[in-house]
Symmetry: C2
Subunit: 311 residues, 2 copies
């Protein structure tokens, strides 16, 4: 039984997991949807309700009914490397590839429909609340007046991108930014804006959930520092223990969202409470593993290589 990794060619994080799968003796195939059609090929025949067929890339062939699990890492856009790329060919190739893969009995990290919904930030906040996490007050609005009132009410607020990261290659980096109370909010009318009460934090927390294995890391914050993902603070990520209450909330969030994998960001306040900021269903873990030594890539390999059903 083989693990299928859907990712582009340059992917150091995938390399880390591939090394662990090799170490564990689990067969795998890397496939970039951008290579279909072309370097990648696909054939599936429908016989009495089941698709039987294979994927092939770089001379390697994997049987559809021999797929153990599918890791959706950083797949390229289908048909992007085709001789004559077009929107139509991308749609056809994507539907064929994912339509056939959905017919296999393989376990997904993550299920594609769950992943799409889990990217919706307003929905994340609601889910986080229902999972028992404390969540800072938040507004999403196109009304300058509403934005101004929110900023006046909470005094310290941050503005964030709603959709996570801008499209485009390379993507623009958009750190979370503190908004002064006397800001001119008239531009809010030009696009939905997400404002959130600023949590005065003493540390950033990144918790990586791989199935039911949790890896939490903590990085102390300088007073007034807003977004720990950018800039050098002189601190490094260190492993930190997960409280049972947080553990239960993470399990519930994963269950409600239908996610096998999630990278949670929290702000730790002066009382030690972890405030939910977001859960990125496709979040990176390489930088955490490198700094903390936590065996996250191996946990991913273990999940992908497991024989039975789980999530």
């Amino acid at each position: 039984m083989t693990v299928l990794i859907l990712t582009c060619e340059q992917d150091v994080t995938a390399d880390m997991v591939v090394a662990q799968l090799h170490r564990r003796g689990v067969p795998l195939v890397r496939f970039d949807p951008a290579d279909l059609p072309g370097e990648g090929a696909l054939s599936a025949e429908y016989v009495r309700g089941e698709f039987r067929g294979y994927l092939s890339t770089g001379g390697r062939v994997v049987s559809m009914d021999g797929l153990r699990s599918i890791w959706v890492r950083r797949p390229g856009e289908p048909a992007a490397h085709a001789a004559e790329p077009s929107e139509w060919l991308t749609a056809e190739s994507g539907q064929a590839l994912y339509g056939v893969l959905e017919c296999t009995g393989a376990r997904w990290m993550n299920e594609r429909d769950a992943a799409a919904k889990a990217r919706l930030k307003p929905w994340q906040l609601r889910l986080a609340h229902h999972s028992g996490f404390p969540v800072p007050a938040t507004v999403v609005t196109t009304y300058p007046r509403v934005a101004r009132q929110f900023a006046e009410q909470y005094r310290h607020v941050v503005v964030k991108a709603v959709s996570g990261k801008p499209p485009g290659e390379p993507p623009m980096a958009l750190p979370t930014t503190l908004v002064p109370p006397d800001t001119d909010f008239s531009d809010v009318a030009a696009g939905p804006t997400l404002l959130q009460r600023y949590i005065a934090k003493r540390a950033d927390i990144r918790l990586t959930a791989v199935g039911d294995r949790l890896f939490a890391a903590r990085k102390p914050a300088e007073p007034g520092q807003v977004d720990g993902r950018y800039g050098d603070t002189g601190h490094t990520w260190e492993p930190v223990e997960v409280q049972p209450r947080v553990e239960r909330s993470v399990a519930l969030y994963r269950k409600l969202a239908g996610l096998a994998y999630g990278a949670f960001d929290f702000a730790e306040d002066s009382e030690g409470t972890w405030w939910f900021l977001e859960c990125n269903q496709g979040g990176q873990f390489g930088f955490i593993e490198l700094e903390t030594g936590q065996p996250i890539a191996d946990a991913v390999a273990e999940w992908l290589g497991a024989p039975g059903e789980c999530a």
Copy 2:
């Protein structure tokens, strides 16, 4: 409690349902995501785990917690009508709108994640089989050799678009086409191709499922006619009874796919068997209602206007 209809300005099918909602005295708002930001506006504030807020368009305002149901008809691309449209603004506006709408308790026709998966044609065939429908043998392939063998084995095969319809405005019409056995299949390598055994049919069947209300229509086919959706055959759509076995399969398919609405296409063979061809989760029904007089728009209005939980 209000019905929210997400659709573009020119939508005759939506007009039919709007008329029925008016007749039933059910309040509704039409909203085109293309108008956000601009003519359309949105504001939602997160308070203790719930988003409370409103959508506004053309001077009308609808409260988020007053939404009864959401009909995803033909929504425009978010921010398409913005003063300065961009991919980034489209992503931000779509995430804000759908992220907030997913936080409401409203019933969806159809749920967005279910709809996305239900568009995958290979997956449809598998689901149809598991729901008890007879399904013609099918292959999806980028291998000319496999396509040729399939055509030789079944002799009468048709080729179809995998992704349903090509992108672009207006969309290209791509009828299902009969493939002569001596076809040169070398172009199959240029893009995944779906071939299906041709069902010698005496009629086309269109079955529209609105919740658990089914409307089946039948149009006799000329000998050798392949795609009843295109061209004038001199026949019209007439209502036809649904056999209990088909009724059970439709119910199971809807349940497995998580769909409130689906437009099923069948080919009726000389024995009267209905072969599953596809289920379009967003399929048109206006032309069927006009020819048969079946009250489909009213059934949609009834589903959208219903007070309780159902699917």
